[in-house]
């Protein structure tokens, strides 16, 4: 009780809010953290449980005894590393294509003058508003006709369009001080040099945020790769996990959760490495430096 009072008092001194509001704020934050953390925690402990412990009631919050069998199981019973490789191929290619396309198209829309510029941007925005699921059927028909099922290009090419990145980077470029761009033009910088030496170096935080969002999205891409691939030749990890689930008839959650943890790890590491820059990017422009 005393501890809570002190916390509330300190917060009040800093923000001039009533103690009740401060407490409510902390309670809210704790709820949100629980909402995010409990499922994650459940995935991790389930992956460490033995099969019979998973269905025990009341729920067992700590695995006893813990086991790593599920991890061994998942990496031997299905071609886990094939799926992993496929995920890497798809994510790296798609992220590279999207970042390059996004930056270049945004550069054109923000810093080059040409007739119809506003219209092109409107079309890009409109593309953002069409849900993926709507284009799936026609895309499937087209790609299947090309004989691209179970190929990487069949997965990558239809997903390579970029609207979000164009939008994000265009606004970033428009936010750059126009005098610096003008100075570079007077200094004889051509379009590529202007982009590479002047505009991009001032935009790294946004580029990093954009890259991270793209990588996470592509890593987790499910619907389209699921429709395109039948087996471990091209299926990425999320699709592989489904196959794992179906193999058993009755779902054996232990290996599934172990595979989920393994699938999460690369993105989690990337996130931790880049998070500081990413947050800088998402709030860039909020405060004028």
């Amino acid at each position: 009780m005393i501890g809570r009072k002190e916390v509330a008092h300190g917060a009040e001194a800093a923000s001039h809010r009533s103690p009740a509001m401060t407490v409510a704020g902390y309670v809210g934050m704790v709820l949100v953290v629980l909402l995010v953390a409990v499922p994650l925690f459940w995935i991790v402990i389930t992956s460490l449980k033995e099969r019979q412990d998973i269905y025990v009631r009341p729920a067992q919050w700590l695995p006893a005894p813990g086991t790593t069998d599920n991890y061994a199981d998942v990496t031997t019973r299905i071609p886990f590393f094939d799926y992993f490789r496929n995920s890497l191929v798809i994510t790296i290619s798609l992220a590279t294509i999207k970042i390059v396309l996004g930056v270049i198209s945004a550069y054109a829309l923000a810093l080059l003058r040409f007739p119809g510029r506003g219209l092109v941007f409107l079309v890009v925005i409109a593309a953002l508003m069409v849900p993926n699921q709507i284009t799936v059927i026609s895309n499937y028909a087209l790609v299947a006709q090309l004989g691209w099922r179970n190929t990487f290009q069949g997965i990558i090419v239809p997903l390579a369009g970029v609207a979000f990145g164009t939008f994000l980077m265009r606004n970033q470029f428009l936010g750059l001080p126009s005098e610096i761009i003008e100075a570079a033009r007077l200094d004889g910088a051509g379009p590529l040099k202007l982009l590479w030496r002047v505009a991009l170096p001032m935009s790294w935080p946004t580029v990093v945020a954009f890259a991270l969002i793209t990588v996470v999205n592509e890593w987790n891409e499910y619907l389209w790769p699921f429709l395109m691939s039948d087996d471990s030749r091209t299926a990425p990890l999320p699709v592989g996990l489904t196959l794992l689930q179906n193999n058993d008839g009755v779902t054996n959650w232990g290996p599934v959760m172990a595979a989920t943890v393994l699938a999460m790890l690369p993105v989690l590491v990337l996130f931790l490495v880049l998070q500081r820059q990413m947050i800088k990017g998402l709030t860039a422009g909020a405060v004028k430096s």
Partner: protein, 367 residues
Amino acid sequence: MATVYFDEATRRYSKDGAPAVDHVTLDIADGEFLVLVGPSGCGKSTSLRMLAGLEPVDGGRILVDGHDQKGVRPRDRDIAMVFQSYALYPNMSAAQNMAFALDNSKVAKAEIRSRVAEAARILELEDLLDRKPGQMSGGQRQRVAMGRAIVRQPKVFCMDEPLSNLDAKLRVSTRSQIAGLQRRLGITTVYVTHDQVEAMTMGHRVAVLRDGRLQQVAPPDELYDRPVNTFVAAFIGSPAITLVDAPVRDGRADVHGLEVPIDRSLAGAAGERVTVGVRPESWRIVPESDPEGIDLTVELVESLGSESFVYGRRGPLDPADDAPDTERVTIKTEKRVPVAVGETVRVRPVESEVHVFDGSSGERLVG
């Protein structure tokens, strides 16, 4: 090095609105330092940007060395610009900032190094060459921006209020440095400012703009001594000239009861009313017994140490009156004067230094 010629140059931001730059004709000689001055929104920066190719020319032409610049890209004009915000590349060191343009035009590495070193020596930037703009003070950034222009050895320097972000003391010293540098390099320079002190002290000639229209182009002294209209008279000089609207009777203007003779040759050109302009230093305080003089009630005395400015109005002082119907008169006096607020002083203008303008058009009356 080059000549610059604005030939009826016009810039319109919208079709129906007033042009931002309205048929400006300006002939700038090779090696000249021309200052464009005027209140904000007068089109001075726009004119500069038109010359640099950052704004289109909607009417007329701009010639550099006799060549019309229409359709010539900014990077092909060989014009260097110093921006108000300096616009340094934040990701590059001072040396890289200065070398950027030379890099782009494929100048040999050794040549770039020697030019950057030379510019750094002139601007005393040698110790800062490896620093990025974020680690420099305002004055240092300003010098890097100058250096970036100098190393290019361009045809024309364009400077857009380069001193306005510096503190007052630094501004004064940098002012003379830039003027001195320009004299040494001999590169044609167009310098935009709203500061009339910069205009008076830096340029060979000063061009005064108002609402996009050129008012007068003249050397600073001529601008001060013979302003072409009341706008120029009021804009140049600090504190400002006192302008008094006066009726004309028998070839003499009646300034608050004091008869100021108008030059005989002007008398014909003058209508019923004229505007009489008297600069602060053209007033003399005369003894109360002097038959010719105006009695002023002192409202404010500003003592700057070496000189004082006395602000007064005709008639008794009434603090409740927000808008007195007589003009405030500004008088410059030597050193300190024993004058206090509320007292009355008797003053008289020096006749030979009185400016007379047309009462309606505001144009200078010339015989």
